[in-house]
Each structure stands twice: as structure tokens, then as C-alpha cells.
Subunit: 239 residues, 2 copies
């Protein structure tokens, strides 16, 4: 069993961005940013997620309808791979090899990637966009609880260009020219949320008193879903 | 029909590396480096070959037996993609979009990549190593006939790190621990030569008096095959 988190979440003194809305009056609410992930397994999981994303994008490149689309998607793949390599470098900085550190997360994420790959080019792009967005937001929030030295580098790395504008361009163009795509991709987008949140939640199961934390973390997950809905909107799809 | 070459090959005044052996006394022998490829289709084909190689490596990452192997092969994939993007940048420098410039080569190279992908992880790595080596040598020799401005940049780009040491390490380790792999992979390596040389030759079919040139180019292809044999040797396989 790998523990992604110290068993005792503590409040950190990180300056966090102001919430957009008035905070809900809920005493024991926990933000993801207040948790303190153990650095090494955090990096292992995040690095493996980027690798899985790269594989999804690689499949998408293979089935792309035109050479121009291949070029566009290969750029997105390169960006995911660069993030993976950046996270792998952080693992090496701690004196570990990326392979063994990622290994405990491989089976679950491989299975997740297999079931969420999508049946064709369009679904693959939707997967690459929505799951990278959701897991990226999640990882970025958790990164705020890391120790100061690694935190800055990792936040910079994860918040770097993800090439998603290219995915949105490709998808919007496809949806605009084929009206029947929208309902199918909307359904696919909704289907992805459950599996993706399960991957995110699987990181949190080792926090002490997990049941209470589940409830306390609900608002944090609600925010992740709100961002997901905005991504669906940007594709012209109903979440 | 796309013409990769000017119809009239001319001798260039490029300083070329000394041949290792005494040159064969053959008056009308033509080196690949003496041909003058038309820059734009040359770039289109070379860029698409790197993209296809990236796809092969992406498949290999997907079926890699361990997370550590995924990391290693993903680095090789990143290097192929970097070469692709470098070549795509050269296409843009000429005021063209990479997609349409690559498009005429897509069907043939896609089919080639499909038939040479390999049935498992080991065959995929052999393909990535041997075909990238052979086509890379071929493209590098042709690049010497390009106009001076582009030539330097493209030779630098194509001769940059290809990560093949990582592929050789993975394959040698596998072959050393499983004796039954060697004959199967040796056969696969031999099988790849024919299809790969056909892709290379397909670039040359538009040179005037192609039949005579076929014969005159034979020594150049013999050199490509010699380098292929050295690669087989480095894996401990019989060519």
C-alpha cells in the first residue's frame, strides 16, 4: 500500500488565491491545497498520469484524420511528455529512479487509461482535454501543500502550457461541421468524470479518518467539477 | 505525383567525409550526397517519417513491460518528436504549412509503419532502432545535397541525439535474459530491411533515367545496408 499523504493533514501557511465566491460557512471544510502530500509518491503518481496522457495523445496522433491534425496533436503530446520528464527529474533530484516510484500507480492508471481512451479520434481528443484538465487541476491544488522548495518548481511545471487550445480548436471545428458529434461527445465527456474523479480520490484514501475527509473534501471536488463544466462549455457541449 | 528531386542531379561542391575504404573504380557511381533534393518535399517526407517513428515509439511506450521501460522509451519518442518539430519549423520557414507538405507522403509511410510496427514490445523496439537508423542515414546523406543555408541546420537537426543507446540497452538486456528472442528478432530485423529500403527508394523514383540511376545508386544503398548490419551486430543479432 502506498501512502500518497502524510496521515495527518496540517494547515499550511501558503498564500492561496482568493476564492471567487464567498466561502461557504462550513467549519471543517478542507481544501485540497491544505493537505500535505508526501512528495515522492505525489511525484510518482503525477508523472505516471502525464505518461498515460502522452500515450492517449500518441494513439490520437495515430488515428488523426489529416497530417495537419497529426502535427497539432503531436505538439500536445510533446507538452505532456515534457511535464512527465520534468516530474521524473524531480524524482531523480530526490535520489530515486522514476520507474520504481511510478510503479505502484501503474496498474490502476493503465486500467483507467484503457477504459477512457475513447473509440475514435474525437473521443480521444475529448479524453485528452477533459481528463488532463481535471487531473491537472487536482494535482496543481495538491502541489500547493508541498514543501516550499519543490512546490514552486512543480507548480510552475504543472501550470505550464498544456496545448489545450489546439485540442479545443480541433474539436470545435469537428463539432461545427458535424452536428451529430455534439450529443455523442457530450455523453462521453460526462462518462469520463466518474472514472477520473475515482483516480483523483484514490490518492486521498490514506488520509486518516477517510470517511470524514471524504465529506469535508466534497467542496474541493465540486470546484473540480465546475472547472470541468467550463471545459465542456468551451467545446459547446452540455455537461 | 510529388517530385522529391530536381530532375537533373548535379555534382555539389560539398566537402564530404572521407570514405573508409578505397573508392570503387566505377566512373558513373552516384552518391546520395551528390543528388539535389527539392527542399520542400524533402522536408515533408523527412518530417512525416519522424512523426511515424514517434507513433511507433508511442505504441512501444504503451506496451512497455515496466514503468522504467516506459520512461526510457518515452525519452526516445520525445527525441523523434523534437526532430519532427524541427523539420516542421523548416517547412514553416519556407512559408508553408507542415500538414499539406507532408500529406503526399502520408499514405505510403502510414502503410509502411503499419506493416513494420511489430507484434510485441521487442519487435517494436527493433523497428524503432533499425528503421530510424536506416532512414536517418538516408536522409542525412541526402541532406548534404541541399542548398547551403538549409543544409547546415538540417544536418545538425538530423544528426542530433536519437536516444538509440536507450533502445540498444533495453534490447540487449532482453536478449541476454531470453535466448529464444535472438533468432526471432534477427529474422524481424532482416525482414525490415526490404520495406525500409523501398521507402527510401520511393524518394528517388523521379530522378531522370531512373533505371540507370538505380544501378549507379547501388553502392550508396550497399553502404546503408552495411550500417544496418552494424546495428544488428550491436544487438548481438545476425544480419
Amino acid at each position: 500500500m502506498v501512502f500518497l499523504f502524510s496521515r495527518r493533514p496540517r494547515r499550511t501557511d501558503v498564500a492561496r488565491p482568493k476564492p471567487r465566491r464567498e466561502p461557504v460557512a462550513q467549519v471543517d471544510r478542507v481544501d485540497l491545497a491544505e493537505l500535505t502530500p508526501d512528495l515522492l509518491p505525489y511525484l510518482g503518481q503525477a508523472a505516471y498520469v502525464q505518461l498515460a496522457l502522452f500515450e492517449t495523445l500518441g494513439h490520437a496522433v495515430s488515428v488523426a484524420p489529416t497530417a495537419a491534425s497529426k502535427v497539432a496533436i503531436s505538439r500536445v503530446a510533446a507538452l505532456a511528455l515534457a511535464k512527465h520528464h520534468g516530474l521524473a527529474a524531480e524524482i531523480k533530484r530526490l535520489g530515486h529512479e522514476p520507474g520504481p516510484v511510478m510503479a505502484p500507480f501503474a496498474a490502476r492508471i493503465d486500467e483507467y487509461a484503457r477504459t477512457t481512451l475513447g473509440a475514435d479520434w474525437y473521443e480521444m481528443l475529448v479524453t485528452a482535454y477533459l481528463t488532463a484538465g481535471l487531473l491537472g487541476d487536482f494535482q496543481l491544488q495538491l502541489a500547493q501543500g508541498l514543501s516550499a522548495d519543490a512546490r514552486t518548481r512543480i507548480i510552475l511545471l504543472l501550470s505550464g502550457d498544456d496545448g489545450h487550445a489546439l485540442l479545443v480548436d480541433e474539436l470545435r471545428a469537428a463539432i461545427d461541421t458535424n452536428a451529430r458529434l455534439a450529443p455523442r461527445l457530450a455523453m462521453w465527456g460526462r462518462r469520463l468524470v466518474g472514472d477520473t474523479l475515482l483516480i483523483a480520490r484514490s490518492s486521498l484514501t490514506n488520509i486518516s479518518d477517510s470517511h470524514r475527509n471524504e465529506a469535508r473534501l466534497e467542496p474541493a471536488f465540486t470546484e473540480l467539477i465546475a472547472a470541468h463544466t467550463r471545459r465542456m462549455d468551451s467545446l459547446g457541449l452540455t455537461a
